[in-house]
Symmetry: C2
Subunit: 355 residues, 2 copies
DNA sequence: TTGTAAGCGTTATCAT
DNA sequence: ATGATAACGCTTACAA
């Protein structure tokens, strides 16, 4: 490994000057800089990150911790995030360190790693409504950024989130415009903040139209195809079945499509489906049959901002300048259409036809 | 952050003595050691890993790189490995660094990280028959250990693997003892080393009994339920269908079970199924209906040995002392049974009944 | 048994 | 514009 001293010796300079030249300090002679850079390249010089870290006091390592049984079973989004984040962090010469927590104690690895004090910060994903990890890290005073946000208001930590309430509103608006009055929701697990936010937006949007969705037409579960199918089958068997489904993920929508097929219902002829699409490469909503109408917010798009926020946070930027909420795009495709004639009856509070 | 110097000052000792006391050097006075340890604990001392790394020349970071489109789509085993490995590495105060490679160039992240020279080594999973990553790392002289092994012989790198050929033999032996003569194989993707090894063992075991499995009864694909179902349906539609399936994973077996159900075949009455079980917590073979007969080798069991091998490798232990092949357990449950009377006819080379 | 001092490779603070 | 020198926190000869 060639080091600063080697370059310095080769050029008859001091290590300090070489360091300055390489790090773009303005005071160094332009000629010197050229020579230094040339030699550095020739000698295939790479700064020793460990040494840099020792002096800077930073490790350049950011932790991301998998909730072991939960996240794995749920969906491939954790991987998607890890992949995007590691690639973005690499641009800053930083690394993503992986750990996993067990179901018994989600906070344990954070405690351990904070005690070791070897990481610069953490990136959290999929916060729950009352997230223990956030509680702990806040109390410990350790830097972290969140993909999503735990409450419904403005938290006191950096985050990047999509406007989940708005997304539910957009979906309901589209369906309402198409004449749908009985809209069911297949949401994610109730303890997740995003699910709570969407649920709130969903009910608010319905209420604004004078509609309701009785509790048996709102389901919460893992983002899985099986869940979508089972829940849809059950709801469609109702005396006053929904004419449209709002799904928390494309995977759930796939399940609803199966249920529709089994029931002999055409989508969007008899039934409309709209899903939220994280745009995970493995599940392309466009390739669905019929192509899915979605609210689309690629999960991958969060990785750049989250990484930048992390770096800025470590650089001392104020938290309120590191909070972002973006909106999802509504993309209308073939899985939504006008409600079938005679199906515009709305639900009353108990879920039977109102008039 | 309390440091060595602080403890030293508090006790009127030198940092050197404190360091020795904490690191268990034999020469320090036992009383001194006690006092040092007490104070260290009281002051909540944690050695600065960065500083330790600078002097030791090691980073304490091990890389694991996801093959982005491939591994994610394939199965949850990458997560399983990451989880186990990160936990084992933590025992050595080491960390697992995550990166992802793209389909275009699997070796790219290795090149980048090797150039940065910030990792101590790599752990590779699921090697292919001719693995480019292994080629590169070997050429680069970078320490790595492999879960699995690329060739069929003894490689020149540390690895931990199960005896895939033996596992296929065990399965065939069991089925043969039950009278099965037409055994199909639903293997993993052909380019993976483990699949090649199992295929070889499968054919060898059949040949030893004077049996064959014509190519249309041997399939290769991702370890997915859909694949299992489709492949089994196709094979079962044959004029001389297999009476038993050997599946590369429990997920594939789940697909075969669906196919059997659709075809109205009872397992194990009409059809026997045996699978290899990596014992990933999310997919419990015992809970299958009927409970699956498997060759079982928990993937998690590889994590401890792999971590130890990595550490030993870095400590200079010879490679030939770091190569392990373990055998899988054969666990007979309800999915295998005696062949149905009149179904013992064997295949000839073309896959029609021999006699 | 303990202390002193050098060193790991880099950056930052003084001088010059 | 460049060079000495100290510093980051720890380990390890070498001295005492």
């Amino acid at each position: 490994m060639t080091k600063l001293k080697d370059i310095a010796a080769r050029l008859g300079l001091s290590p300090a000057t070489v360091s300055r030249a390489l790090n773009g300090f303005p005071e160094v002679n332009e000629q010197t800089r050229q020579r230094v850079q040339a030699v550095a390249r020739a000698m295939n010089y790479r700064p020793n990150q460990i040494a840099q870290k020792l002096v800077s006091g930073r490790s350049g390592m950011i932790g991301m911790i998998l909730r072991s049984p939960v996240d794995v079973a749920t969906d491939p989004s954790f991987f998607e995030m890890m992949t995007g984040l590691s690639s973005r962090l690499a641009d800053y010469d930083m690394d993503l360190v992986f750990h996993a927590s067990s179901a018994e104690d989600e906070v344990a690895p954070y405690r351990r790693l904070v005690a070791k004090a070897t990481l610069d910060g953490f990136i959290l994903n999929a916060p729950t409504v009352d997230d223990q990890r956030i509680r702990f890290l806040t109390a410990a005073g350790v830097p972290f950024v969140v993909h999503g946000r735990a409450g419904t208001g403005m938290p006191d930590y950096p985050f990047f989130d999509i406007d989940n309430a708005a997304l539910a509103r957009q979906s309901v608006a589209l369906l309402h415009d198409l004449g749908h009055r009985r809209i069911a929701m297949l949401n994610g697990p109730a303890n997740y903040a995003y699910a709570a936010q969407r649920l709130k937006g969903f009910h608010a949007a319905l209420a604004a139209q004078g509609l309701t969705a009785p509790s048996r037409f709102v389901a919460h579960d893992r983002l899985a195809e099986d869940y979508g199918q089972r829940a849809a089958e059950k709801m469609l068997a109702d005396a006053a079945p929904p004419t449209a489904f709002l799904c928390a993920s494309t995977l759930i929508a796939a399940g609803v499509l199966r249920a529709a097929r089994k029931a002999g219902l055409s989508v969007a002829g008899d039934l409309s489906i709209i899903a939220h699409d994280d745009a995970i490469p493995q599940f392309r909503a466009v390739n669905f049959e019929p192509a899915l109408t979605v609210t689309r917010a690629p999960m991958r798009d969060a990785c750049g901002p989250l990484t930048d926020k992390m770096v800025h946070l470590l650089d001392g930027v104020a938290i309120q300048d590191l909070q972002t909420i973006v909106s999802a795009d509504l993309i209308v495709r073939q899985s939504t259409g006008p409600v079938r004639a005679g199906q515009q009856g709305r639900w009353n509070e108990t879920g039977v036809l109102a008039d």
